[in-house]
């Protein structure tokens, strides 16, 4: 098992770039994120810090979706559901006075895991378009459940105070929250990289390329895909937990299908299957949305066409613009 770790390049590499070269872009990316707060000191630090924290959290959610889409060819259009589960775990528990971060996180992970297992078990019986639609339906199902939770704000959502760690309000500090999000992002990136490079990840990519052949050589795609689905759901729940803490607010809008669409856009923009591309995509997405919405109220009229143009013309995504262009798209 000492093959060169090809960190989830889902598109088959034609030439294997050196390990260092391959790691350069993600390394630079994480270095920039680690040093960002220091640089932000010189500018409007509070605003930039919050924006970057948000970017990293959405990047985390998008990265987990990349495990499904980029590595497993499971186009889930309901991934925001898990983001919502994580966020509502914070909102609902804290409204009952349970504000310990670990309890909330554990609840988020368990509920997301169970929800992913149940919905994944049904969804993965279908394929192609049907899979896209059934995941969308489960996401909408959760959306309507949250809008009808009148006790927890219903449509309007619910404000909350940030989680405490063993009774200490350390997350109140924006800088701490930034580094917590950074640590979560880095940790999940490394974990997902390991997952993708493992035998499990290879099987998953094999299924993406040719499910029939994988079956023929003795793998049951269903179990591998379901496991990946649960892993991705739980990571997205972590992102939801962080998102609720960042905005000190949860609402059904976190779960809407538009948010799921945003997440897909992020990974396509960033480059599918590379994991860190999701972070680049999330950054490009949030910064573009932020920039355009400051520029005009009708920013969607620019944003929509940008999306279309990206789909039509930029097939490899941002990650392919890096030093490892040897990984040519198909």
């Amino acid at each position: 098992m000492n093959e060169i770790v090809d960190h989830g390049a889902a598109v088959t590499p034609r030439s294997q770039p050196s390990r260092l070269k391959q790691a350069a872009l993600p390394l630079a990316l994480f270095a920039v994120l680690a040093l960002m707060p220091a640089a932000a000191r010189f500018g409007a630090s509070g605003y930039i810090l919050a924006l970057m924290t948000r970017t990293m959290i959405l990047g985390l959610a998008a990265m987990s979706l990349d495990l499904l889409i980029g590595c497993g060819a499971m186009i889930s259009f309901g991934h925001a559901a898990f983001l919502g589960i994580g966020a509502y775990a914070v909102g609902i528990l804290s409204s009952h006075g349970i504000d310990d971060a670990f309890v909330q996180l554990a609840a988020a992970l368990v509920v997301a895991g169970v929800f992913a297992f149940l919905t994944g078990a049904i969804s993965l019986r279908t394929r192609g378009v049907y899979f896209i639609m059934i995941t969308l339906a489960f996401g909408q199902m959760l959306y309507f459940l949250f809008t009808s939770l009148a006790a927890y704000g219903g449509d309007d959502g619910l404000s909350l105070s940030r989680s405490r760690v063993f009774g200490a309000a350390v997350l109140r500090n924006d800088l701490t929250l930034y580094y917590v999000a950074f640590a979560a992002l880095l940790g999940c990136y490394l974990a997902l990289r390991a997952v993708v490079a493992s035998r499990f990840g290879r099987v998953l990519r094999g299924i993406k390329d040719n499910p029939v052949r994988m079956q023929a050589i003795g793998f049951a795609p269903y179990r591998y895909q379901l496991t990946a689905y649960v892993i991705a759901g739980m990571i997205a729940a972590v992102a939801g937990f962080l998102l609720a803490n960042l905005s000190e607010f949860v609402s059904p809008a976190y779960v809407g299908w538009q948010r799921s669409g945003d997440l897909i856009f992020m990974i396509v923009l960033g480059g599918m299957g590379s994991l860190y591309g999701a972070i680049l995509g999330a950054a490009a997405f949030t910064l573009l949305a932020e920039f355009l919405s400051g520029f005009t109220e009708y920013w969607g009229m620019i944003f929509g066409p940008v999306l279309i143009v990206v789909v039509l013309f930029a097939r490899g995504g941002l990650a392919s613009l890096g030093p490892n262009v040897g990984r040519s798209g198909r």
């Binding site: 889409i69 186009i75 259009f77 919905t119 049904i122 019986r125 279908t126 394929r127 192609g128 378009v129 049907y130 896209i132 639609m133 059934i134 969308l136 339906a137 489960f138 909408q140 199902m141 309507f144 459940l145 809008t147 009808s148 939770l149 009148a150 006790a151 299908w257 538009q258 669409g261 897909i264 856009f265 396509v268 009708y298 920013w299 969607g300 009229m301 944003f303 929509g304 066409p305 940008v306 999306l307 279309i308 990206v310 789909v311 039509l312």
Partner: protein, 306 residues
């Protein structure tokens, strides 16, 4: 009293289902023949409603408004096809989803820019104003009956076209094997354009028809789009008959579920909890129905492609 109320709900459910059918019919044919996921189908419905709102104000007549809205919806659909969708047919589903998602974002904002963010309303035409007594104590708005009639009529027309014309034969053949149809010498891109135009116009027609009973606002197509997808997935992609049955099924489930869920739950829960849970469960019913159908029949009830 309860019986009449229930009957009104059934009629509402059928009416809602038929509107869903008008939208889903175009979606399922486009999907079936072209293997193209058009998320922008919902905004075409919205555009239809806005066109209707604009043209009825402009001409002062419901009929003239409808007459002008339909070709305009068609033209807008064809322009979108020419500019965006045509370049996506050869791409994968992910590209379809994303690019048409971009179209949604654009058009939702565009109508807000042109018509303003406030909801518009369209008056119910004079001829169909008021209500009619269907049975003793059962009053029902005439216009909603007109919607039911229009939905059934379009359903019949589509049925006749799909099953008894040359074009319909090509559509059915395309839904079961598009490359083969192309290989047999049919101008498939012309067929695609026709199918797409008809789909866009049907969605626009649905939007125009509901404009007098719903408020016309940005984003009105988004929820309907999801429901239309639920319909075509339950019905089986590419099947107009499946779409019809699934649409009425969904319309009834949704309407009756919202009406009866709190009442039924009252039998096992106390009233406050029953109405709370009922309101939570009702909107989820159709998704549960869809999950159940797909669990037992992963390709829907009437799959066109075997």
């Amino acid at each position: 009293m309860t019986l009449t109320l229930a009957l009104v709900q059934v009629l509402n459910g059928v009416q809602f289902g038929l509107i869903l059918f008008l939208i889903a019919a175009g979606l399922t044919i486009v999907f079936g023949v072209m293997d193209f996921i058009n998320l922008a189908h919902g905004v075409q419905y919205m555009v239809g409603a806005y066109l209707m709102a604009a043209f009825t104000v402009f001409t002062g007549s419901f009929w003239l408004g409808l007459l002008l809205s339909l070709p305009s919806a068609l033209v807008i659909g064809l322009v979108l096809e020419l500019l965006v969708f045509r370049h996506l047919y050869a791409r994968d589903h992910l590209a379809h989803v994303l690019a048409t998602f971009g179209v949604i974002i654009f058009l939702n904002q565009a109508v807000k820019l042109v018509f303003g963010p406030a909801p518009l309303s369209v008056p119910v035409p004079q001829a169909f104003a008021g209500a009619v007594t269907l049975a003793p104590g059962l009053l029902y708005p005439v216009y909603r009956l007109v919607i039911i009639a229009a939905g059934l009529l379009v359903g019949l027309l589509l049925y006749a076209t799909v099953n008894h014309t040359r074009l319909g034969m090509l559509v059915r053949a395309g839904a079961s094997n598009a490359p083969m149809v192309s290989a047999l010498g049919v101008n498939i891109s012309l067929l695609f354009t026709i199918v797409f135009g008809v789909g866009a116009m049907l969605a626009g027609f649905a939007g125009a028809m509901v404009a007098p009973i719903l408020s016309v606002e940005p984003g009105m197509g988004d929820n309907v789009l999801i429901l239309a997808f639920v319909v075509i997935v339950i019905g089986g992609i590419g099947s107009v008959r499946g779409a019809f049955i699934a649409a009425v099924l969904i319309g009834l489930t949704d309407t009756l579920g919202r009406f009866f869920a709190p009442t039924l739950l009252r039998a096992v829960l106390d009233p406050a909890a029953a109405s709370q849970t009922g309101r939570a469960v009702a909107p989820m019913l159709i998704y549960i129905l869809m999950a159940a159908v797909l669990f037992f029949r992963p390709t829907g009830l009437f799959p066109a492609r075997r």
